[in-house]
């Protein structure tokens, strides 16, 4: 064959004659060079990390490090303790996340209400976000987990799990409400104008037009906060909830060895890295859509 097809939207299917001095066939050459790039990248990666690994395990103190952090038998003992304890963390962040998404949305909507009548609501929502973003989360956890039960008010729950969920919800709602608010503000005012011009009330415009677009846009940052929440569930170990971190502390103290902490670290890696990659995929998708929409 002495020609090649151009391809693309303007391709008429005609063969364009391939002159010897002209451009070479593109596709094969690109395939070959792509394969070569991949192989080079693979080889250099293996060499690079192989070298680092070799240096680490041949360092003079490596046996001590291995004994203290990567101890095989302690690893085997602590995994059956620690992994089930993670179920408590899963319950914590699942229950808290649902409450956070609801409370934060309410706060963001309150803060977005226009007009002088709603000033107290805006003030309340703004003060909430300021206060709970300013105070370290661990303080809120202590205040609720130790302080409130100590009041011994009849009927007030004493479950530490309860206060753990409430504390995490209070702290994270402040951040998440700001994320929602940014999303609401990113929807162009002409969208609300279009909705109102059709006779929709302010609430209907918010409910059917503004919020669906706002929430869609902030899903990646919401997931980021969700990752943060997952990790911060270990903070509630300080008020006596036996979750993964507390369990690994117990195992660490019993074996006088840090391997249980490495097990815990690995559990968090396994759970959060896929979520982080998923966030990347969503962001890339949004970017493609945005670029397509901008035309």
């Amino acid at each position: 064959m002495s020609g090649f097809r151009v391809g693309g939207p303007l391709d008429t299917g005609e063969l364009i004659p391939h002159t010897p001095g002209g451009p070479p066939r593109p596709s094969r050459r690109y395939d070959a060079s792509a394969l070569r790039s991949t192989l080079v990248a693979l080889l250099s990666t293996v060499l690079f990390f192989g070298l680092i690994g070799w240096i680490v395990v041949h360092a003079p103190n490596w046996p001590d490090v291995q004994q203290s952090f990567f101890n095989g038998s302690i690893w085997a003992q602590s995994v059956p303790d620690i992994v089930p304890a993670f179920a408590v963390n899963v319950q914590l962040f699942c229950v808290a996340e649902v409450l956070i998404l609801v409370l934060a949305l309410v706060l963001a909507v309150l803060r977005s209400l226009p007009g002088p009548v709603f000033f107290p609501f805006r003030l309340l929502a703004t003060a909430y976000a300021d206060v709970f973003r300013a105070i370290p989360g661990i303080l809120i956890i202590y205040l609720l987990g130790f302080g409130v039960p100590a009041l011994q008010i009849p009927g007030v729950p004493t479950s530490t799990f309860f206060y753990a969920v409430i504390a995490l919800t209070l702290v994270y709602s402040a951040y998440v409400s700001e994320v929602y608010r940014a999303g609401i503000q990113s929807v162009h005012p002409s969208q609300e104008a279009a909705a109102r011009s059709l006779g929709l009330s302010q609430f209907q415009a918010l409910r059917y037009v503004v919020l669906p677009q706002a929430v869609r846009r902030v899903i990646p940052p919401l997931l980021n906060d969700f990752i943060g929440l997952q990790k911060d569930t270990v903070l509630v170990s300080y008020i006596g909830v036996v979750e993964i971190f507390r369990q690994s502390q117990i195992d660490q103290a019993a074996a006088f060895n840090f391997t249980p902490y490495l097990v815990t670290a690995l559990v968090f890696l396994v759970i959060t890295i896929p979520l982080a990659r998923f966030v990347d995929v969503l962001i890339a998708r949004d970017r493609r859509r945005f670029l397509a929409g901008a035309r």
Partner: protein
Amino acid sequence: MTAGTERPEGRALGVEQVWKSFGDAQVLRGIDLELADHDVVCLIGASGSGKSTLLRCVNLLEPVDAGRIFVGGAEITARGVDVNRVRRRIGIVFQSFNLFPHMTVLANVTLAPRKVLGLSEGAARDAAVVLLDRFGLADRRDDYPDRLSGGQQQRVAIVRALAMDPSLLLLDEITSALDPELVAEVLNVIRELAGGGMTMLIATHEMGFARDIASRVCFLDAGVILEQGPPAEIFSHPREPRTQQFLQRIVEAGRM
């Protein structure tokens, strides 16, 4: 005496001494305008002359500073008027379409009939399909707006406004954001609506279209209606020097 009884029958829109400013900028400086039923009135004038602001005031998207606006005989600028009820009867189509990007064409058109008029899903859908069909959009009903051309998007926006069965339609430079070859398909929709007796107030830069379709043309300049009359009169024998100047510039730009 109520506002309704002092208005003659058949008056679709009355604008009386409407003033509007944004900060220090006086955009509307005492507008008076009357539309009878089935009138098609075109507002022409330079950018910034107040055409869009006037339309937004009529739809109560902007509160007026002074003056009164009547729609179908009732004052809509009066205290205690339910703006949501008023807007049901006034359709507006914007320059930038403003379709809801997260909804299909059909959902865009049926949202207000369902949520505002309380139509059932099926009834709203049937009515929307008839309208979409009439304007050549039947096969696009399940598409999202970003799959549509600008001309199609604007026609959907017109259908969305019509789905509320408005007594008055406001069109705010609806072809200004379109590629030139897409302008005709949108203007043809408006021609058809005018032929069907729709009362319309149209801000436009399309002079040929205005000459063609308008029962009356109003020239706005610096927030007042400087001159108005039948299109033949305004375009052929403008009285005011400012009108002559404006039309001269339009002709020089090759747009008429």
